[in-house]
């Protein structure tokens, strides 16, 4: 097993109290597995991604453990995590287009970054990776401002995977790309895995149709908790959690027009994570809710590798 996350809790400190952004999440990612992670805006996807790499000052590791290749990740200890970052686990952050240093040419920046991590730059390897994501080599001679949003995004992706980390976390990296580039980048990611450059991957996206194309397993989160996790085909074709079902139903298809058929999102909004309600957190939006839902539904394996947290599943 590459990654084993056990009852992980990560909260944010704020003046009004703690935001329980990740509140007891357990899952595993196997060797060679691509896990797609999806869920409503604000449900804790980025928090999970950051927790495995670098917690910012306001994040607090409140409970649970993370194990990578059999070794415990000291996620609450910024200094000890240094040995793991980039080398063993790497993150391509959401909105990474703003992460590039504007005053340095791209090529120079990459060299400096590698040196600062004690690695000798390998020009051939770098060029190979540019090819894999469809960037021309001459971007190395340009400044970040001279690249489009999607080009910057892909550049950060190249940098984050240069050291062949065991686990790669990609946070919404294809969201700003056009469909052809998206397809190329998703293909490149799967290729990194197929060629053993990275052992396993967490692919965060709201785009279920895209995850469906490359993920082996899909995990759906809701309000800081796991709602459902299953093999990609199974979760799309036979979802068991009411939230997953509604989410899949709200996907538009090419050709649907507002004027002809008005689509509807899921009514209501997710609960505040400052004081999340007891019981099932989806309760006040769930069409199937009943008395028992006032108690928290446990995560139950309803079929092999298919887990659901719902009393009705």
């Amino acid at each position: 097993m590459s990654l084993r996350v056990n009852d992980l809790k990560v909260y944010y400190k704020t003046l009004k109290g703690e935001v329980k952004a990740l509140d007891g999440v357990s899952f595993e990612v196997g060797d060679g597995e691509i896990l797609g992670l999806a869920g409503e805006s604000g449900c804790g996807k980025t928090t999970l991604a950051k927790s495995l790499i670098r917690m910012d000052g306001r994040m607090r590791h409140t409970g649970g453990t993370v194990e990578l290749d059999g070794e415990e990740l000291p996620i609450g200890d910024d200094r000890r995590m240094n040995a793991f970052r980039f080398h063993r686990v790497s993150l391509v952050p959401q909105y990474s287009m703003s992460a590039l240093n504007p005053t340095r040419k791209i090529g120079k920046m990459v060299t400096e970054l590698l040196r600062s991590r004690g690695v000798t730059p390998d020009a051939g390897k770098l060029r190979g990776r540019l090819d894999a994501v469809g960037l021309p080599h001459e971007v190395l001679d340009r400044y970040p401002i001279e690249l489009s949003g999607g080009m910057k995004q892909r550049m950060v992706m190249v940098v984050s995977t240069l050291l062949d980390p065991s686990l790669l976390i990609a946070d919404e990296i294809t969201s700003a790309l056009d469909v052809s580039t998206q397809k190329a980048v998703a293909g490149a990611l799967a290729g990194f895995r197929d060629d053993g450059l990275v052992k396993s991957m967490i692919f965060v996206t709201h785009d279920l149709s895209l995850t469906y194309q490359i993920a082996d397993t899909i995990m759906i989160m809701y309000a800081g908790r796991l709602a459902e996790k299953a093999p990609a085909k199974e979760i799309i074709e036979a979802p068991r959690h009411p939230y997953t079902r509604l989410l899949i139903n709200s996907l538009p298809e090419v050709g649907v027009r507002y004027a002809e058929r008005k689509l509807a999102g899921i009514a209501g909004s997710p609960p505040s994570l400052l004081n999340p309600p007891k019981g099932c957190r989806f309760r006040d939006r769930c069409p199937l809710a009943f008395g028992q839902c006032e108690q928290e539904p446990p995560v139950v394996e309803v079929a092999p590798n298919h887990s659901v947290a719902c009393w009705k599943a």
Partner: protein
Amino acid sequence: MLKLDNVTKVYRVGAFGGKTLTAVGDVSFDVRPGEVVSLIGESGSGKSTIGKMILGLTPVTGGSITLDGAPVRPGKEYYRHVQGVFQDPFSSYNPVFKADRVFQMIRQAYYPEVRETDWAERVHATIRDVRLDPDQVLGRYPHQLSGGQLQRLLIARALLLDLKLLVADEITSMLDASTRIDVLNLLAELKERGLGVLYVTHDLSLGTYLAERTVVLRHGKVVEMGLTDKVFGNPLHPYTRQLLAAVPRLHAPWEDAEPVTDCLYHRGGASGGLSEAEEGHFVACARLDGCPE
């Protein structure tokens, strides 16, 4: 309302600006009141550059952009009517201001006559329109919000103004399916009340949902444009077809589409002008004039 005539943008790139790069070449289209025009094209095709020129954030190199007949004049009055929400919300936001402060600044600049309590009500209503809970988001700094929350606050900020035109550059790309539909429906309502929207997106299904007309851009040039139904119902340019084939779909694995590399038009061999293939449907494809390939 908004009109682009033969707009061109050439950037100087490289250390001493020694090389040039034509990001946008000879683009013409318009956006009418109450109309959504979607702008589609691959990464680096010049979509954001067009958006920035409309907002006066970078000058045009050639051609002209006019709003109601007047050239783009960046400034308070212009921005009262024309706003942009861009791809990367973190860079559009001042990190030291909390959300409520940002909304206050709009009032001070544009609506000093509106009473504090009325303004608060307006802000709350707009924030709820973008599916956020005002109590949850207003007291927070940008870094305390999720990506999608921040993006929606930027939309709300733009909508508080007396807008005629919204340049929306991939604004829903970071939202989950359900929230995205809500934001799109909101745009559709605003459009029915007369707002014009230039909707930059890579997501063809979202483009078709809202837009009357679609412009497909490649390497800074328009390859196909016209009524959305026609452009996607009867795609004529090989590039448009390739885009459609690359759309990921549920229940079906990706189709393999031939990449457009060996097309006469793209090798620069054809004239490249747009011709009208059917009513309201224009395409710059030499095949129509008997392309040998």
